[in-house]
């Protein structure tokens, strides 16, 4: 097992490197660079920058070099000193900005995941146990709808409803009076209140998928011979459920935790832009539009690494939980 994990981790390193290279190549694809965008912005406010000043700026930020040279400086900085470069639009080190937004992003992601699992597993189990009941039809119907609605459009819908009912669209994560306030009990409460819409919006599609998986798994498990045996032995129905069916059915759900973490983490980008959340989404969007390449590149790289990590976690969990896969690996 240890050998399997180390081998998988080692394979990740070259993949991450290639990914970082592609990321860097893609973000410098748009014509022009940050400086030309900056100059255009300055000229609209009346300040004309001459070519020499622009060239100086480019040289200072290393933008005059070809992209592979820039990439090389960037990646060696990350690998040797953990230095992600300098954000041109924020005028701060990238690591600083990432640190600022990472906390909230993780908080939202983790809340969403908790929400997803707490909602999806009981509903999935119930709709399997009561197959073809009105509850089953309702949950399957909602599940389909939730999967079909794009997250960000769902966000608009919820904002509209929230505005209609409470007169507050719940934009952002804090009410204005709390935005700069220290962390008090009231601020936490305010945060939790604002968290409702983002968590529902980001979590819905995942929840719906999980409900489907859980229901299907339960239906498979509940007809197995050992369940019949348990019933014949006279075990109470709920114990059969908890001890045999759910335990077996939950395996694939648990083993895909890694994947769902990454989908939540990366899928929330547009939702965050729409809801104006102070998470990575809007920052990344802005960085991409203004060609703030070190910031955008670092975010994309981090996300790709998260995806890789998620896959790794899932694979390891799968191997841990399912003895068949484990044994197969040992045999090979």
């Amino acid at each position: 097992m240890v050998r399997y994990i180390t081998r998988r981790t080692l394979v990740m390193i070259p993949v991450a490197l290639v990914v970082s290279m592609i990321v860097f190549f893609i973000i410098q694809l748009p014509p022009g660079d940050f400086i030309s965008g900056y100059a255009a912005k300055m000229s609209t406010s009346g300040e004309i920058m001459d070519a020499q000043a622009l060239a100086q700026l480019r040289e200072a930020y290393g933008l005059d070099q070809p992209w592979y040279a820039q990439y090389f400086t960037w990646i060696t900085g990350i690998l040797t000193e953990g230095d992600f470069g300098y954000s041109l639009s924020y005028n701060r080190p990238v690591a600083d900005i990432i640190g600022q937004y990472m906390g909230i992003t993780l908080l939202v992601s983790i809340f969403t995941m908790l929400f997803t699992y707490i909602i999806a597993i009981p509903i999935g189990v119930l709709s399997a146990v009561k197959q073809y009941s009105w509850f089953d039809y309702l949950s399957t119907g909602i599940g389909f709808l939730g999967m079909a609605t794009p997250n960000f459009l769902f966000a608009i819908l919820l904002m509209f409803l929230s505005f209609r009912w409470w007169g507050d669209p719940m934009l952002g994560l804090f009410s204005p009076e709390f935005a700069e306030a220290p962390w008090t009990y009231a601020k936490w409460l305010d945060l939790l209140k604002h968290m409702i819409i983002p968590v529902i919006v980001i979590g819905t599609s995942n929840t719906c998928e999980l409900i489907r998986v859980m229901r299907g798994q339960m239906l498979d498990e509940m007809t197995k011979p050992h369940i019949v045996t348990a019933r014949a032995k006279g075990l109470p129905e709920w114990r059969i459920l908890v001890k045999y069916s759910i335990r077996a059915a939950i395996n694939p759900v648990i083993s895909t935790i890694g994947w769902s973490l990454t989908t939540i983490f990366t899928g929330s980008t547009i939702t965050a832009i729409v809801l104006n959340l102070p998470t990575q989404g809007p920052v990344m969007h802005k960085a991409l539009l203004s060609q703030d390449m070190y910031l955008a590149g670092s975010w994309l790289l981090l996300m790709a690494v998260f995806t890789l990590l998620g896959t790794l976690i899932s694979d390891i969990l799968l191997a841990l939980l399912d003895p068949r896969i484990r044994l197969e690996r040992k045999g090979a």
Binding site: V15, V18, V19, I22, V23, I26, I27, L29, P30, P31, F144, L145, M147, A148, T149, P150, F152, L153, I156, L157, M159, F160, F163, R164, P169, L171, L219, T262, F265, T266, G267, T269, I270, I273, V274, M284, H285, L288, L289, Q291, A296, W299, L300, M303, A304, F306, T307, L308, T311
Partner: protein, 409 residues
């Protein structure tokens, strides 16, 4: 000798046709079986009707839409949907539906301009009215539209947007982009997936390993940010057609990897089949083996995978246009139409701007259901657990009987 052989063949043919007539399932092709199974899937049937309607709408878009892409009436900004009426203010019934004229007034509280119906003016809705010039089906020029009202009457079935453009026309015209981007994108990724997945699965060994690593890398990118990054790379002042082209390519570039995986695994599974080995021994060329013996074996799975990839593409295109990275005004798609709904004040004051959202959801749902139905139909093993069809039972019985016969032999 020759006549004997001919007689034998004739007998064989006769026997086969008799058998086929008695038990239609035996001679029915895979596609036929799939179609039969698909027809039985109720949701898929409804979805296919919905999709057919949507695509007809897109095909005849400039004819159905009362206004063109460039039309706007600045005096009717943010007007609410016009009500189509049969009964007028005096309670008289009109056989021909009509709309009231619009007059603007100030809301006494908010002082915002709003439009109210003016019951003194009646505009009957006419069919085949002349209006904006357009090219019908890309062939001939015409200016006949399906319906409309005489000047100075206006008909806004879904209301108007912030520039006074008819939302109904824009939804209809936008469907052309929103419904064709995913189709073309899926076709491109279909070809790419078939080609690259096929090479990977058929060649195996080192080629396979390299291609698989490459697919891993592409897949490890978070999709949406990658779309955003690629879309930002599109030069800002390109024409509508080029923009359309770019977006399709971006979609296809990401989507093909999933299809390539399906193709590869099927190739590997089928490569070991006896009939492929037999073909190889008989000296059949690689290309012929691939296209005559391997591809038909899994093409239905690939079609299913492609259908299920379409909803993702629709959402992707909508998301990109929504963020202002895709199609740009005055050209339109459903994502562009949703842009105005981005500001919550807009939606709160003019809720009809959410109408395009309904279209997106309907189409995505329909494709999902249709894909589900196709999957059930293509997979012979799913029938036992999923659909309880009498035909399947019949087949099962036939299968058991023939098994028994074989055993007795």
């Amino acid at each position: 000798m020759v006549t004997q052989a001919k007689a034998l063949i004739r007998r064989f043919r006769n026997a086969r046709s008799v058998r086929a007539a008695a038990r239609p399932d035996q001679s029915a092709s895979h596609w036929r079986l799939m179609y039969r199974e698909l027809k039985r899937h109720k949701l898929a049937r409804i979805s296919s009707v919905v999709l057919a309607m949507m695509y007809t709408l897109a095909l005849f878009a400039p004819f159905i839409a009362p206004q063109g892409l460039e039309n706007y009436s600045s005096e009717y900004m943010n007007s609410k949907p016009t009500v189509v009426r049969f009964v007028d203010a005096e309670g008289n019934f009109h056989l021909q539906p009509f709309v009231y004229g619009l007059k603007s007034e100030r809301d006494p509280e908010t002082l915002r301009k709003r439009f109210v119906e003016d019951p003194s003016k009646l505009f009957p809705i006419k069919l085949f009215v002349r209006g904006e010039e357009y090219t019908f089906l890309g062939v001939f020029q015409t200016n006949v539209h399906l319906f409309g009202v005489d000047e100075p009457g206006r008909i806004f079935l879904f209301g108007t947007d912030g520039m006074g453009r008819d939302l109904f026309s824009r939804v209809v015209l936008g469907s052309q982009v929103s419904l064709t981007v995913p189709l073309i994108g899926v076709s491109i990724s279909f070809v790419l997936g078939l080609l690259i997945g096929g090479i990977s699965g058929y060649a195996g060994g080192r080629v396979d390993a390299v291609i698989q690593r490459f697919i891993d890398i592409v897949r490890s990118f978070p999709t949406l940010p990658l779309w955003m990054a690629l879309a930002a790379a599109i030069p800002p002042r390109v024409g509508v057609v080029e923009m359309f082209f770019y977006i399709t390519i971006i979609m296809a570039f990401i989507e093909w990897t999933g299809l390539a995986r399906v193709v590869r695994s099927k190739f590997i599974a089928l490569r070991a089949e006896d009939y492929v080995t037999a073909a190889k021994i008989a000296g059949v060329g690689d290309l012929k083996i691939i296209f005559v013996h391997l591809v038909p074996g899994f093409i239905s799975y690939l079609v299913v995978a492609a259908t299920l990839a379409i909803p993702g593409m629709i959402i992707g295109e909508t998301a990109m246009s929504f963020l202002g990275l895709g199609i740009r005004s005055p050209a339109t798609s459903w994502g562009v139409l949703m842009q105005e709904a981005q500001q919550i004040e807009n939606v709160a004051l003019y809720p009809w701007k959410l109408i395009p959202l309904i279209f997106v959801i309907i189409v995505v749902l329909a494709f999902n259901f249709f894909g589900d139905g196709l999957r059930d139909a293509a997979d012979p093993y799913s029938h036992e657990s999923g659909l309880k069809s009498a035909n399947r039972k019949e087949k099962q019985r036939w299968f058991n009987r023939s098994k028994g016969k074989r055993m007795s032999m």
